[in-house]
Homo-oligomer: 412 residues x 2
């Protein structure tokens, strides 16, 4: 199942990337995806739409790497040079792919259009190249060998690149490395614990020790932390069996801090809980200025649950959630108020955040659930944290979990 | 004033960048900043915290480039290797900078702390290296010559890198290229015109033709387009004189589509207009779900103007702005309603957007100002566009400009 180490490089082309006009998110996407299946990137290169640079970059990568993913330069215009320079580096000519010409022609015809003449360029591939399918665009991929490395060419359009990476490129790289079986990425989204604490909390989980089969990783994007289990197995069934106990253990150790898993999100969990309970929600905000409503209300179907959002420059905590609940007619009211520090923005600028939740039970009982926390880290940071804190308190309340568990970002 | 062409490369180091865990925004920031002062980047390299890769990367860049900006690897931990590998590539040893040791010690002392022992590593520089000051961090920069290129080392912390780039690195590169004088970047933010149309609208402006002195560029970040004039002159006074007429012409040609200039923004322009007129504002939103309030309300001082935001799952256009204005007590009401297409999200998913503005005059006159537009491009795209459209209509209304000028993103 485990194969030999494949040295992979990523080579990004195009003036927009080279000049910084476009942030190179294609690079980070490719590198991350490779890491998740156990393939490590060893080198990254960026060059412009320039023949000499491309040729040098191809040759140098061909000396260092086993496999090179080239991204960009497959378009129909004259500054798209990947096929031409690949052919030059291989010492072959470009030949027309009748198959791709036909596919492009048919694709245009289906939309009632005639294919522009310059698209023909996109069907010109280096002689002997392996064809790599692009099911959603006119830039097909291809593979050739330059030096000692296999070069896999992908288009710069992110949507097309991402699909081809998953379906075409990664399987070829795994095969190249003699790596068989299936892979899976399990993700836990948490709020309230930093990367180093999560790392400690998950230390020594049995099964995580098996080298290379299940890999633990973290990705912090404040205010959340993503904990990732990248796993590989011979079959899906074997993966299920191997992962089940480890997933349960991760869930148990991260505890109440896990706000969602995989494709879900904190706001989606809140929405689903509200929906399942037949509840409706009103949100009151001050300095978060709509940021909370803006996460929840756009969810597909949220209009069945989301009743009203109110953003006010000033709101007093006293009875705020009860009043909002009564005025809106919603079953639940979430209010997030902030008392900001004075003075200009700075790294230790902070705020005291008051979260209040009212529902039918709190109205009968001792008044709304309340959580007060102090966050610091500049205006934007504090605002983002407050929105998350408010939603997380509501999630915890709806799930019957304690709303006042201390979080790492909090100052006392 | 114009010097020789300097071939600049950017070399980014660090496992976080190499593995895609962190998106490489440092690269794009550096490349863009260089472009703005007329220095073009010729090559970008990314390597991990790996001695052999770093050494190879330094040597190859030293053969190709005139100047190399190295980013990252100056931290206090063992995986920060930039100084060590730089010394190895130069064939020298590392020597302690007493000056930097003292600066770090004092900096810790000012905050009442003792400097950790491992910070000493950050004062070890290759023998003979030129010191580059870091006024806000413990990672100082330095410059050495490897091969035929001057290497300038900067820390990976974005805040520190950005400041050192402006104050230390770019002046050195300009000097290296024999480029004298001062530079300036003039920016216009517009809404409603695409890059290619803006390019046409600005064709043939006299003065833009002077090669290399004033460079026109665009940066699209939907829904806005940024039009940039990067200019160079012998003195500030000369720049003023040269730019004045061209700026005025750009402003005239882009016309009402310019929403803000330089550091300002659409929301700030709206806020300032409201404030200057002694007005207050209430905002009503449906599917934009607080996105409009979320742009305006967080501005420093906005609490003097922003009265209330209401987000509702459903709201009818009929009298909406008048009602909101009356209920909130604000002098102005902005309502943005959306009628979404049916079905799942897709690239041609769209919405019909109704913008309504009420104020004292419309209440006396023929009812609120109204603008209806259809946007397509998927749920998120449409939502972002609607928020911008709403704010822009308010800006136009406050400035006495037509609110119904057709925009490029609009479908009829």
């Amino acid at each position: 199942m485990k194969g030999k180490r494949v040295r992979v490089e990523i080579l990004c082309t195009g003036d927009e990337i080279l000049t910084g006009k476009t942030v190179n998110t294609n690079y980070s996407h490719i590198a991350r995806k490779l890491g998740e299946v156990g393939l490590d990137v060893a080198w990254g290169t960026t060059v412009g739409d320039d023949r000499a640079s491309l040729l040098t970059a191809f040759r140098q990568a061909g000396e260092r790497a086993d496999a090179v993913i080239v991204n960009g330069g497959l378009g129909p215009t004259v500054d798209d040079l990947s096929q031409e320079v690949a052919a030059e580096a291989c010492g072959v000519t470009l030949v027309l792919s009748d198959y791709w010409m036909q596919r492009m022609t048919e694709s245009y015809a289906r939309r009632g259009r005639v294919m522009p003449a310059n698209n023909r360029k996109q069907a010109m591939l280096p002689e002997g190249a392996e064809f790599i399918d692009n099911p959603i665009g006119t830039a097909c991929g291809f593979a050739v060998t330059i030096g000692k490395a296999r070069f896999l060419f992908t288009p710069g359009v992110p949507r097309e690149m991402r699909r081809m990476l998953d379906e075409q490129v990664i399987p070829r790289l795994l095969k190249l490395g003699g790596i068989t079986g299936v892979t899976r990425l399990k993700r836990f989204h948490s709020f309230g614990i930093g990367e180093s604490r999560a790392d400690e909390m998950l230390a020594g989980i049995p099964g995580l020790a098996i080298d290379g089969e299940i890999k633990l990783g973290f990705q912090a994007h404040f205010p959340e932390l993503e904990t990732k289990l990248a796993a590989r197995g011979a079959t899906e069934a074997e993966l299920d069996a191997k992962l089940a106990a480890i997933e349960a253990e991760v869930r148990r150790r991260l505890g109440n801090f896990v706000v969602a898993e995989d494709e879900s999100s904190l706001e989606r969990m809140v929405f689903e809980r509200l929906k399942a309970g037949g509840h409706t929600l009103a949100i009151g905000e001050t300095f978060t200025s709509g940021a909370i409503a803006n996460r929840l209300a756009p969810l597909l179907g949220a209009d069945t649950v989301f009743r009203r959002g109110v953003i006010a420059a000033e709101m007093t905590a006293d009875g705020a959630a009860d009043t909002l609940r009564a005025e809106s007619g919603a079953s639940h009211a979430l209010v997030v108020l902030m008392q900001l520090d004075d003075g200009p923005d700075r790294p230790d600028f902070g705020a005291t955040i008051t979260v209040q939740i009212a529902d039918e039970n709190t109205a009968k009982g001792g008044g709304p659930v309340q959580r007060v926390a102090r966050l610091v880290g500049g205006r934007d940071w504090v605002r983002t944290g407050a929105a998350e804190l408010g939603l997380d308190c509501l999630r915890r309340h709806l799930m019957g979990l304690p709303v006042d568990e201390r979080i790492d970002f909090e100052r006392r």
